[in-house]
């Protein structure tokens, strides 16, 4: 059974720690990065199915991650999580091909729903919210 590969990028360690388990319980294979530059290298090395990324990070921002991810794999689903959500940012993300966006703080169940929706759209039938 093929599992969806998920890359989680946030410069705050607590975010990755909390969400990794949540997504693994769904049946996803999860990689976590705090350094967006290293995450970018990993994306170019391995095309992920789903990428969950913060926006405001040092050196490389979430929009650059989004663009790189779509360039490597146009079908990749990119979910934006941000503490600085605005209507303009939301529109920019959607225009650049983001799958969804949510403002921080959010409940882990909100992210679970988005990941399940993304995985289902990509044809992963064995993934579901528990």
């Amino acid at each position: 059974m093929k599992r969806p590969t998920v890359l989680l990028i946030d410069d705050e360690p607590i975010v990755g720690q909390r969400l990794k388990g949540t997504l693994e319980k769904l049946g996803c294979e999860v990689d976590v990065f705090q350094d967006p530059g290293k995450a970018l290298d990993r994306i170019r090395e391995k095309g992920f199915d789903i990428i969950v990324t913060d926006v405001m990070m040092p050196d490389v921002n979430g929009i650059q991650i989004l663009e790189a991810a779509k360039a490597v794999n146009a079908d990749a689903k990119v979910i934006i999580i941000t503490g600085f959500a605005t209507s303009d940012l939301a529109r920019e993300c959607m225009e650049k091909g983001a799958f969804d966006m949510i403002a921080k703080p959010f409940k882990p169940s909100d992210l679970r729903s988005m990941v399940v929706r993304a995985a289902t759209e990509m044809g992963f039938t064995d993934i579901q919210e528990r």
């Binding site: 209507s87 959607m94 966006m101 949510i102 729903s113």
Partner: protein, 264 residues
């Protein structure tokens, strides 16, 4: 669940565009009259009172502006409720701040033929009744939202009917709505929920606290008003108590305008 908001002082022309757009998209059409009817039914208020609130903006010179503020708040609450879960084309001049907050709302300004357009500075006696209505809507918008209705910077799309028919205008709207940026997402849907709660709270307390502004985020409600300055703590507590019991409210923060700048 995208939404189109057509804002214009030209009721007849923009209603025609809204009708064509709604029918092409298969969306629900909501005109100002429909909004008033829904609000009247929902809150058991006379339609005439609600129409009055849309004609007479609350101004300081008038002695009793509370009913007008209340009715505008109820109309905005109804608008939020109609938007929730609906693909909708709205046409009117109410609700601009609500639309501004939601990224999947396509905001359209419709300008009509210059011959039919009355400038806000034109004396009312020199314009037709249609022209007077247009001037009145502009003044209402300015006083209620502190913005110029015809300011293109407030909109995603400006359509000038001097250069196209109402049907062509509808085509432009339908094509523009196809852009990815107007696609609903979790964030924008949550914004709608937050706005709906903020409007509910505002319409509940606006007759007790004039000039109140309300924001909501995930069940936390922030109430801003000059009335909550230090000397009026009791009123702030009363308001907090009454709002705490409302459905969907987890926490209430009451903020006097002055306090925002304290400690800076």
């Amino acid at each position: 669940m995208s939404i189109v908001a057509i804002i214009s002082r030209h009721g007849r022309e923009s209603a025609a565009i809204a009708g064509f757009t709604a029918s092409r998209l298969g969306y629900r059409l909501v005109l100002m009259e429909d909004l008033v009817k829904s609000a009247a039914q929902r809150f058991q208020i006379s339609e005439a009172d609600l129409f009055r609130a849309l004609k007479e903006p609350p101004v300081l010179q008038r002695l009793n502006t509370k009913p007008l503020r209340k009715h505008i708040a109820l109309l905005e609450q109804t608008l939020c409720e109609l938007m929730a879960g609906n693909q909708m084309v709205f046409c009117g001049y109410l609700g601009y701040p609500i639309f501004h907050e939601i990224s999947h709302v396509l905001k359209v300004l419709v300008l009509a033929h210059p011959a039919a357009e009355a400038h806000p500075t034109t004396p009312p006696e020199t314009t037709s009744s249609n022209g007077r209505g247009q001037v009145r809507k502009g003044r209402w918008f300015q006083r209620v939202y502190n913005a110029r209705l015809d300011d293109p910077n407030l909109y995603d799309l400006t359509l000038n009917l001097d250069h196209m028919s109402t049907e062509e205008a509808a085509d432009v709207i339908v094509n523009t709505l196809g852009q990815q940026r107007f696609r609903p997402m979790t964030y924008s849907m949550n914004c709608m929920g937050n706005l709906e709660l903020a409007c509910q709270v505002k319409s509940t307390i606006v007759d007790q606290v004039p000039d109140v502004e309300v924001k909501a985020h995930d069940g936390t409600v922030y109430i801003y008003a000059k009335a909550f300055k230090r000397g009026n703590r009791r009123k702030a507590l009363q308001i907090k108590e009454s709002v705490m019991h409302m459905e969907g409210v987890n926490y209430v923060e009451v903020i006097g305008e002055k306090e925002l700048f304290e400690g800076m």
